[in-house]
């Protein structure tokens, strides 16, 4: 066991773990928010919930016009009906959630110590279905986006409150994994999430302006004008990985949940404004 290789591996491990745990999540959050403050001094913290429209005034005008009569209204209406429709056993989605599912989206994702995993709002909806002996819904589009749209709508204006429990190394580890995923370069184009959304935020990529990573989790689900339908946050993550020609992690896979956990944590204090429309 004392082979040089083993010692080398140990040293690498120490190096990685020490560099990853260098900053506490709270320090990360402050550092990233300060970074964007310097980059876009004209923006208040709450403005980041508007995503790229906060820094693209032309697109913002058309977005605001769309939001006056938004295309997600049909999904919202159906979502509300679904949310209160009883299952065969008489229970409803609303009964699975604290406060009957109203204005709670800001508390997701959270670390569940019992399950030893991150619970997102979408996974909680499917957990509710499983408890009531119903098959899980697909996580990228369709019915789940409608349910999420209603839950997001009731949570509008709530400030994101993602908590990493103290004395829980597993939760901290999940956060660190999400952070590592964010900064890890991958795929044929060798991009990380940070390449676009930190290093080049606000610059053009072909005709589009790159959005800041801060605020990426505030406005889901979203009606995408490019697909003409509602999609979830994880669907967007998957599209990003496809665009950089990287292996695509499945929606609600541990990797993407960790990424959501990280992004949501650094966006603590931002108001929720989902559901939304995006280009």
């Amino acid at each position: 066991m004392n082979s040089p290789l083993f010692i080398f591996c140990l040293w690498i491990n120490l190096l990685i773990s020490s560099s990853l745990t260098w900053a506490s999540p709270e320090q990360d959050r402050k550092q990233i928010q300060a970074f964007y403050q310097q980059l876009f001094p004209q923006l208040q913290l709450a403005d980041y919930a508007q995503g790229v429209y906060a820094i693209d005034s032309d697109a913002k005008n058309s977005w605001q016009a769309i939001e006056e009569f938004p295309p997600y209204e049909f999904a919202l209406e159906e979502g509300k009906a679904l949310f209160y429709r009883p299952f065969n056993n008489g229970a409803r989605y609303a009964d699975c959630f604290p406060n009957q599912g109203i204005a709670i989206a800001q508390n997701y994702p959270y670390w569940d110590a019992q399950k030893q995993s991150i619970v997102t709002l979408a996974s909680a909806l499917n957990d509710c279905r499983l408890q009531n002996h119903l098959p899980a819904l697909p996580y990228t589009k369709g019915k789940i986006t409608k349910l999420l749209a209603y839950m997001a709508f009731t949570s509008r204006g709530q400030l994101i409150r993602t908590i990493i429990p103290e004395h829980s190394p597993q939760a901290l580890n999940a956060y660190e994994q999400g952070k590592a995923y964010f900064y890890q370069r991958r795929g044929q184009l060798n991009f990380s999430c940070a390449s676009c959304h930190i290093d080049n935020a606000g610059k053009f990529i072909r005709s589009e302006i790159l959005s800041p990573a801060l605020g990426h989790t505030t406005h889901w689900p979203a009606y995408r004008l490019n697909t003409g339908e509602m999609g979830t946050l994880h669907r967007r993550f998957m599209a990003c990985n496809k665009l950089i020609r990287a292996p695509i992690d499945a929606a609600q896979s541990p990797a993407l949940r960790q990424l959501e956990f990280f992004l949501s944590y650094i966006a603590n204090g931002l108001p929720l404004n989902g559901p939304s429309t995006r280009k």
Binding site: F69, P71, E73, F74, E78, G228, E229
Partner: protein, 103 residues
């Protein structure tokens, strides 16, 4: 649930009526990703806009219009309490109509 949503807003010299319609607007050129078969064309052909029962506009539409289309109409001389109605008919002979009272 109606497929048509209508909203109106009165300004000093005109009234803006906006409508959002839930419709697939299939062109007939799209393929089903899994089976590779063409999805049959399914699009709105006529859209009728009435004000107090009188036809103000009849739009002849083709498949070049987006899914879940949005339209807005500006009408002069509309008062509170006036009734507008919007109806559509598509190439598969489905149709829907919705009334709205200007507030």
């Amino acid at each position: 649930m109606s497929t048509i949503k209508i909203r109106s807003k009165r300004f000093a010299d005109y009234t803006l009526v906006r409508t959002l319609i839930a419709h697939p607007m299939e062109t007939g050129h799209n393929k089903n990703n899994t089976t590779g078969e063409l999805i049959p064309a399914h699009f709105i052909q006529t859209l009728t806009f009435k004000h107090n029962g009188k036809v103000l506009s009849q739009c002849q539409m083709g498949y070049g219009i987006s899914k879940n289309p949005f339209f807005s109409f500006k009408i002069k001389s509309a008062k509170a309490g006036d009734k507008v109605s919007i109806s559509w008919q598509d190439n598969l002979a489905y149709s829907d109509t919705q009334e709205h009272i200007i507030s």
